[in-house]
Amino acid sequence: MSIRLQLLLVALTTLVLPWAGCQYARELESALRGSQEQSLLASAGTIANALSAQPQRVFRNTDLRAFDARGGDLYVHPLTNQPLLDGYSEDWGMAFDPVTLPSTSGYHARVQAGATERYLYLYAEVDDTHFDPEPNEVHADTDRFDRVDIWLQGQDGTNTNYFFATTAPGLNAAQLIKGDEVKDNDAKSSAQPELRLQPEPRIQAYWLQTAQGYHLEARIPLSFVAGRLWIEARDGGSKASAGFTPEANAEGGRLFFATDGLDGLLATFIREGTRATVIDTNALALGSAGSVAAASTNAAEDSRGGWYRLLLETDASNLPPLTSSGGRLGGDSVHAALSGEPRAEWVRGEDGRMLLTAAAPIIVDGTARGAVLLEQNAEQMLELRTQAFARLFRLTLMATATAVVVMLLFAAWMTFRIGRLRNAAESAVGSDGRIRLTMPGSRAGDEIGALARGFERLLARLNEHAQYLRTLGAKLSHELRTPLTIVRSSLDNLESQGLNEEQRSYTTRAREGTQRLQTILTSLGAAARVEESIKQAERLNFDLRELIASTVAAYRDGFPHNSFVLELPDDPCFARGAPDLIAQLLDKLIENAVDFCPPAGRINIRLARETGSYLLQVSNDGPRIPAEVLPHLFESLYEQRSGRDDKPHFGLGLYIVRLVAEFHGGTARAANREDGGGAVFTVTLPMI
């Protein structure tokens, strides 16, 4: 992995900044939420305290018995707009939240009540697939037809019985049943022929026939209504009925009304974006004010904040939904408050927005008579959070980007320096064996500079060694000459003493030994002598073709075991230089070829013209040269041969070839033959 990549990875750790920012934003948000919960709870508490001081303005009925739907209690939803009498409840402006009327015979009927300032509204759905119309001449007690009876308890405590029936669906008035007040079951069951029917046009109803039965939507002036109302639906055919009657259920049929004026009272307590609801112990809303609709939301802001929000775990979809159905409120906070304990809760509103709810109990005389529920739109806070977070995120992202860019630039600079140093180190030892002693960037004070200086010291040492090695041959050749001469001259003297046969054989061997030593010394000093010859060489024009022809003729005599194949151009090849040196160059090439050529192998010598230069090639049938050796063959003191023969090899032969070639402005190179057999050495020499 390159340093650049490593540093990039390191730079990426600065991404921890946005992460930390995220965490910070979350902490901040959680603190904000906490404080908001506290403040909303405090508000709720304040309102609850204020309301508990004047319970008469909050609670209309003083009956503390719990709301009992089974007992025929009805909650009268506060209606904000006047519904049209049409047999449908859709225009009530609230969710259908009916009470199922009890029935003994599987006769199903559901009812719901609502009130405006002047009217009480009833809405009933009765499952009665057979329509039994009202006969023209009605005997209230004896005739059987589909009817809905209501009993209204007046201010004076008397019950008045009305019923709705129809000859044909549509708008009609209620029928008042006048007669003795029905006191008990027995009285009702016994026929009362003197009962009279009288229409009551102030009570209006709409009868809508449906596939399942009929809907009845009725409107009763509030002046008719005191505290209780019983309702019963009866089937004309089967005599089945569903509902309550005052006879059966004298303690039931209570109507739970929202408290008049409570809305206005609550409105004085709240701010924009907050809704306050007062509930009684049955979690029924007695009054409410305000709206949680966001004051103003910028759509663009919203969508931009969206993706930041993805990074935050607080998501409204995880929250419990706001449980409020038809005026009856639910949720943890409501239950807690009704049991006397204030509680705040985050919920998901109907439109998916986050809402904060806080409920505080209204304590009257030591018991919780109800609760104040505050709902606040959390969007405002969320928006603040989102803005802060977006700013934080942008800042840290910018910081990260800057850090990455700076690190990348730095890495590029480091990599450049190291790369430059590496290139310099790789090429420090030239192909001619010369060593460059200076490294780039060695003046820098840092570790890379120190590395460069380390390289320089190393190269200086290496150079000393190389120098020493280069001169070692010449020195040895020179220094050993005197002792060798002593040995040889002593042998000369010894031999002149008149030795016997045996003694002479020893001196002969000693002489052979000195001869070999002499050869070794000569080869050791060869390069030095060639270098000296080159210094003193004179250049003259000569015919390369003739020179090669005559030398090869000599090699044929000198190496009878090898066959030489000579390939020459047809006309003379004039070159300028030192023919003696060229002859030495050829000597070395041929010696080399002979050394590697198998017995009876062929050695090809080829001279050809190329653009501007002559090409002298000597190839043999010997083994191929390993690729890794090829570039070093012409270096001084480079020797790969293991001692195969008696001749010493010091890695100077091909070095001499190169010296001579370069002296003539040419080049020397080695390669393997393309046909796969042996090596080919090529020397180029410039034409004149």
């Binding site: 020179h478 000459r481 005197t482 001469t485 002593i486 040889r488 001259s489 002593s490 000369d492 003297n493 002149s496 002499q518 000569t522 002598r529 000296e532 010859s533 003193q536 003739e546 020179l547 005559s550 030398t551 090869v552 003729a553 000599a554 090699y555 023919p579 003696d580 002859a583 030495q584 050829l586 000597d587």
Partner: protein, 229 residues
């Protein structure tokens, strides 16, 4: 009367070997280890021949100084450099200082003796009046084998002993290629190829000083040299 030979050589073993060999050949040999003792002796009495090494003890070029001093003392005194230093430069310097021959220590003792004998013969021949000496004539070239003298177009060409023998060997059989070994044998000297080449070069130059058109010694690459007329 025995000829006096002074051997100036700082290596005792070698010095003694040379002295012993030359004494065996009938010369009176005095050997010296450094320039000072040699010069002191030479001031009293000049030898008939001085064989000098170039580097003498702590003087790397002491032999050259000695040669200069000797040449100043006597113009005729034959001087031979016998040295381990075989570079072209040394040889040229030595011969320029007036040495008669320049031998490397590769030379064998019998060869050395032969060279010494030849040198004395040349000196003796020069002192004697002309007699029926061995004369080789090749066109403009005349070689007096007795006096070891060479002339080109009747102008003397001063050759060192080695050079003389090389020219002699080439000119005796014109057209025949003499390889390096043959030339070395002829010159009674062991030289490497380079030295032969430089000797040939020097011979050519000496002839060319007399006659710029001289081109009688021809190189046969890979084989040797031949004399062409």
């Amino acid at each position: 009367m025995k000829k006096n030979i002074a051997v100036v050589e700082d290596e005792p073993a070698l010095r003694d070997n040379y002295a012993a060999a030359l004494a065996r050949h009938g010369y009176a040999v005095k050997s010296y280890g450094n320039r000072h003792t040699a010069m002191q002796a030479f001031r009293l009495h000049l030898p008939d021949l001085a064989i000098i090494d170039i580097s003498l003890e702590d003087e790397a070029e002491g032999g050259f100084d000695l040669c200069r001093d000797l040449r100043a003392a006597s113009a005729e005194l034959p001087i031979i450099f016998l040295t381990a230093r075989d570079s072209e430069l040394d040889a040229v310097s030595g011969l320029r200082l007036g040495a008669d021959d320049f031998l490397t220590k590769d030379v064998s003792l019998p060869h050395l003796a032969a060279r010494v004998a030849a040198l004395f013969r040349r000196i003796d021949a020069l002192k004697r009046p002309d007699n029926a000496a061995e004369i080789i004539r090749r066109g403009a070239l005349i070689i007096d084998g007795d006096k070891m003298q060479t002339t080109w177009n009747a102008v003397p060409v001063t050759l060192s002993l080695t050079e003389f023998w090389i020219v002699h060997a080439l000119a005796r059989n014109p057209g025949h290629v003499k390889n390096r070994q043959q030339l070395m044998d002829a010159a009674n000297v062991v030289l490497d190829d380079n030295t032969i080449t430089s000797h040939i070069k020097r011979v050519r130059r000496k002839f060319q000083q007399v006659d710029p058109a001289f081109d009688s010694i021809q190189t046969v690459y890979g084989m040797g040299y031949r004399w062409v007329e």
